[in-house]
């Protein structure tokens, strides 16, 4: 692989003698170049495109390719510094050439990563109007609408995307929509198709395997989920969401030590708040209160750092607090702020749960209705709904919701599912 990089670097050296060297590069853009580049690892691509940008700084195409590769690197590492680098490149391209199409597409993707969903929907709509045949724009439009809770319009956008080009990216989104809309078996079938369609990006395939694992897990097929997470790790070594998925599966199987090990791997790669919260529960189950306390401190530290950087939207942090019955006002505040730019069922579920924990049952009742609106088979949604119904004295509804949660996956969470079962036993009498 390095050989190819040398070719490109050498190309820079001889360029002085050739009249229009960069146009030569475009002469064979497709078969050979795409195939060659596709074989390179993300870091190798970054090096190559950096060399090309240095050699031909005014050619926006290479800058856009570099920015796209930085975004891919960010996907693989969750290191936002890569997103910032991509963003700076795209901004400078757009400052020089406002209508640069490749850069405009990338801008949607960058703003998506920054959770500026309203903006993304706006940008994507503009691009679908001018380039209706490009599946990319329908993809970012659908993604932003899903986060904004505009599910019907999101389905239309995804349908356009998959009709233009059935492939890993569009199948993945169609599958996710089906799950959210209540069809887990369909979601599983379509996600398998996404994996089968494949990609030269091993990370993209691993992403789909993790999604498949999550679909299995939420519908109680824990050993299938475990297999899918393992396949993700085989596709893309060290993939942190796959380690977290394995942790979830092991916990459901009662293999607490293995679960801790897997979550620690995920946390070492990317210290997400939900990993700390899961580890806190697992260490408690393992009879290691000291370690559990350490993970709890980690949750607080993440909160402090977010506050220091002016961020007050994080529903996962809110859920960590609510699940552990602490900082409940802060938890509610976090979700309410998040609701400002994100009105999907997951945010409504978080709102319902934090309202419930703050004993605001009537409001929680309304929020949980929004969360359950589409019949999404999320065990936690039904568990949360059940406890809200119980608090409002509706025992029958509470029992039905609990039975639904436990039927989907009786071991959906190491701390919450025993509580769900206890509530069900109590309510059944």
């Amino acid at each position: 692989m390095p050989k190819l990089i040398y070719f490109f670097l050498f190309a820079g050296l001889v360029s002085a003698q050739v009249a229009e060297p960069d146009r030569l590069m475009q002469a064979f853009p497709d078969r050979a170049m795409a195939d060659q580049v596709a074989r390179m690892k993300t870091d190798e691509r970054i090096k190559m495109y950096e060399a090309l940008v240095k050699y031909k700084p005014e050619d926006f195409h290479y800058q856009n390719l570099l920015a796209a590769t930085f975004i891919q690197k960010m996907r693989e590492t969750m290191d936002p510094a890569y997103l910032d680098r991509a963003s700076r490149i795209v901004d400078s391209v757009l400052a020089a050439e406002g209508a640069n199409y490749e850069a405009l597409r990338l801008r949607s993707q960058i703003e998506l990563e920054r959770h500026n969903f309203t903006k993304v929907a706006e940008y994507s709509r503009e691009l679908t109007a001018t380039s209706p045949d490009d599946p990319w724009n329908w993809g970012t439009l659908g993604d932003s609408l899903m986060e904004l809770g505009q599910y019907d319009k999101a389905a239309d956008a995804y349908q356009r995307m998959v009709s233009l080009r059935p492939d890993l990216s569009s199948y993945n989104r169609a599958s996710y929509y089906r799950f959210v809309a209540g069809d887990a078996p369909g979601a599983i079938e379509v996600m398998k198709k996404a994996i089968d369609a494949g990609s030269r990006s091993a990370e993209n395939v691993a992403w789909c395997f993790v999604d498949l694992g999550n679909l299995y897990f939420k519908t109680g097929r824990v050993s299938d989920a475990e297999q899918a997470y393992r396949s993700a790790l085989r596709s893309f070594e060290g993939y942190y969401p796959a380690h977290a998925g394995l942790g979830r599966a092991y916990a459901a199987e009662g293999k607490i030590a293995d679960a801790i090990e897997s979550y620690k791997r995920a946390q070492a790669a990317v210290p997400l708040v939900e990993y700390a919260a899961a580890l806190q529960d697992l260490y408690t189950l393992a009879g290691k209160p000291e370690e559990a306390r350490g993970q709890g401190e980690m949750v607080d530290m993440i909160d402090k750092m977010e506050q220091a950087s002016g961020l007050n939207v994080n529903r996962n942090l809110a859920m960590a607090y609510a699940d552990h019955d602490r900082n409940l006002e802060r938890a509610l505040e976090l979700v309410q702020k998040e609701l400002g730019g994100r009105r999907d069922i997951y945010t409504y579920d978080a709102l319902a749960w934090t309202l419930y924990k703050n004993k605001k049952y009537a409001e929680a009742d309304k929020a949980k209705e929004k969360a359950l609106e589409l019949g999404t088979p999320e065990p936690a949604f039904f568990y949360h709904a059940a406890l809200i119904e119980r608090a409002l004295g509706r025992r029958d509804q509470a029992r039905q919701h609990l039975e639904r949660a436990l039927a989907l996956n009786a071991h959906f969470d190491p701390r919450q599912s025993p509580l769900a079962e206890a509530a069900w036993k109590e309510i059944r009498q």
Partner: protein
């Protein structure tokens, strides 16, 4: 210890500040495709004894396969429809008259290991082929709108199975004898089919091309001497495709099944004597919204790639139009005629940079080959063995090659394409240096076969030649 760990975690937290702590579903957006990615399409009259009245069509997919890509190796996608299109009527307008579809199914056999194949694999029915792929061949007549036949077994009742990968001398001993040739199946209607890994017959000094057509001395090209040699005349030239495998789908069809009137034409001027063909890959749409009344998830097929002639997209279609091109059908290729009749490669590069004297636009000679983008073959020209072929096809006096006599695995489509782009098919331009252009790579890295499926056996994983410095040259395959 704990304090230290937390401090380390805090340090890494600095990286993960902000919105990342509350990630959303950032689904993949790379519009790259692997399993449906077509590389080359071939069509030629067979020269294999006993099969000379047949035409072989093959398509290669998933280029640049590393032979040692264990543990799972490459496979055909079960969600892709691989299609051969044949046009035999209406003056070859780019509309299909016949289609031969290949659809694959996976069977995962009980597997005690993490690998997809665990040898030694001695036969194509070996149970240690854990990832057992089979396929169905569907033949359609577009003129009558009927399915003529659908086969998932050969004439002896054996499943149509995909040849396993060539692991190496221990895992797959005597690969070609034990596994390659036995994966050729005769269908009840007399067609023969093959699907499996093979060597990539495409050869091209891609490295030098990226280096601004900086072909290696003493390679000729745009740098002096004529590329007239046959075989490995320019040892410094590097076949960038050497040592890599592709996945091949091949079908051998009796000529009388391909012609509009069911005849075997004998006169080259018979309107039935010339047919055109191309390959396409399609994937199924999916219905995004679940519907209880309609349990079907998947809908009609959408074309995601097509290939008729070699180099069309590379030389003639601008990159931003590639996706649109791939979705469209050859019958509509007239819309690209203005691009093809005045390609940038000719005006900007051959003429602009290398100062060649080229024919003026519009280039009707190129339109004749590339619009519609189908490979044409005159069925009255018999096939000849590899050793007697000219790599330059009709440009070398051998009419059974690209671009007028189909395309054979051995045709040097890069040199032919460079020369055709430079105008050698136009009266007055078949002169030096236009008719001497070439990349210096004049043959495939390993010998092609003189029998179906004609592509050489796949490189073995054990002898993975990309790593041993030979770049594929001289490395034995078949083991």
């Amino acid at each position: 210890m704990r304090t230290f760990a937390l401090r380390a975690a805090a340090a890494s937290l600095l990286l993960v500040s902000g919105a990342f702590a509350a990630s959303h579903r950032n689904g993949p957006l790379l519009l790259e495709d692997q399993t449906a990615n077509l590389n080359d399409f071939y069509i030629f009259r067979s020269w294999e004894t006993g099969h000379t009245n047949s035409v072989v069509m093959s398509m290669s997919v998933q280029g640049f396969q590393n032979p040692d890509n264990g543990p799972s190796y490459y496979k055909f996608s079960s969600s892709v429809l691989y299609r051969f299109n044949i046009n035999n009527s209406r003056g070859l307008d780019g509309n299909p008259d016949m289609q031969i579809d290949f659809v694959f199914q996976d069977l995962l056999r009980p597997n005690p290991t993490f690998v997809s194949y665990f040898g030694p694999i001695m036969t194509i029915d070996d149970p240690s082929i854990f990832l057992y792929e089979t396929y169905t061949v569907v033949i359609r007549n577009l003129q009558t709108g009927t399915i003529v036949a659908a086969y998932n077994q050969d004439v002896n009742g054996h499943a149509l199975s995909v040849a396993p990968p060539n692991l190496g001398p221990v895992g797959t001993p005597n690969y070609e004898t034990n596994l390659g040739q036995p994966s050729i199946f005769t269908l009840p209607n007399g067609m023969r089919v093959f699907a499996g890994p093979r060597d990539d017959a495409f050869y091209f000094d891609s490295g030098a091309t990226f280096d601004h057509l900086d072909f290696r001395p003493p390679a000729p090209v745009l740098a002096g001497a004529a590329d007239t040699g046959q075989g490995a005349a320019y040892p410094n030239a590097v076949d960038g495709f050497a040592g890599y495998n592709i996945s091949l789908i091949a079908v051998e069809v009796p000529i009388n099944m391909l012609t509009a009137n069911g005849s075997i034409p004998t006169s080259s001027t018979d309107p039935n004597a010339t047919i055109g063909a191309w390959a396409a890959t399609l994937r199924q749409q999916v219905t995004v919204r679940p519907s209880p009344s309609d349990p079907l998830y998947f809908g009609e097929y959408v074309q995601v790639d097509r290939v008729g002639n070699p180099l069309t997209v590379e030389l003639l279609i601008p990159l931003p139009m590639k996706d649109y091109w791939n979705r469209s059908d050859p019958s509509g290729d007239q819309q690209f005629a203005s691009l093809i009749a005045d390609p940038f490669f000719v005006s900007g590069i051959l003429s602009g940079v290398f100062k060649l004297n080229v024919p003026p636009a519009p280039r009707n000679d190129l339109l004749g080959v590339f619009v519609p983008d189908i490979t044409r073959i005159n069925l009255t020209t018999p096939g000849i063995p590899n050793a007697q072929q000219s790599r330059l096809g009709p440009l070398g006096g051998d009419n059974a090659g690209w671009p007028f006599g189909g395309r054979r695995p051995g045709d040097d489509v890069v040199d032919i394409g460079l020369r055709a782009a430079a105008g050698v098919l136009v009266s007055g331009f078949d002169v030096a240096p236009n008719n001497e252009l070439g990349d210096g790579v004049n043959s495939n890295d390993i010998p092609l076969l003189d029998r179906f499926p004609f592509h050489a056996p796949p490189h073995a994983g054990f002898l993975h030649s990309q790593e041993n410095g030979t770049n594929g040259r001289g490395t034995p395959t078949g083991q």
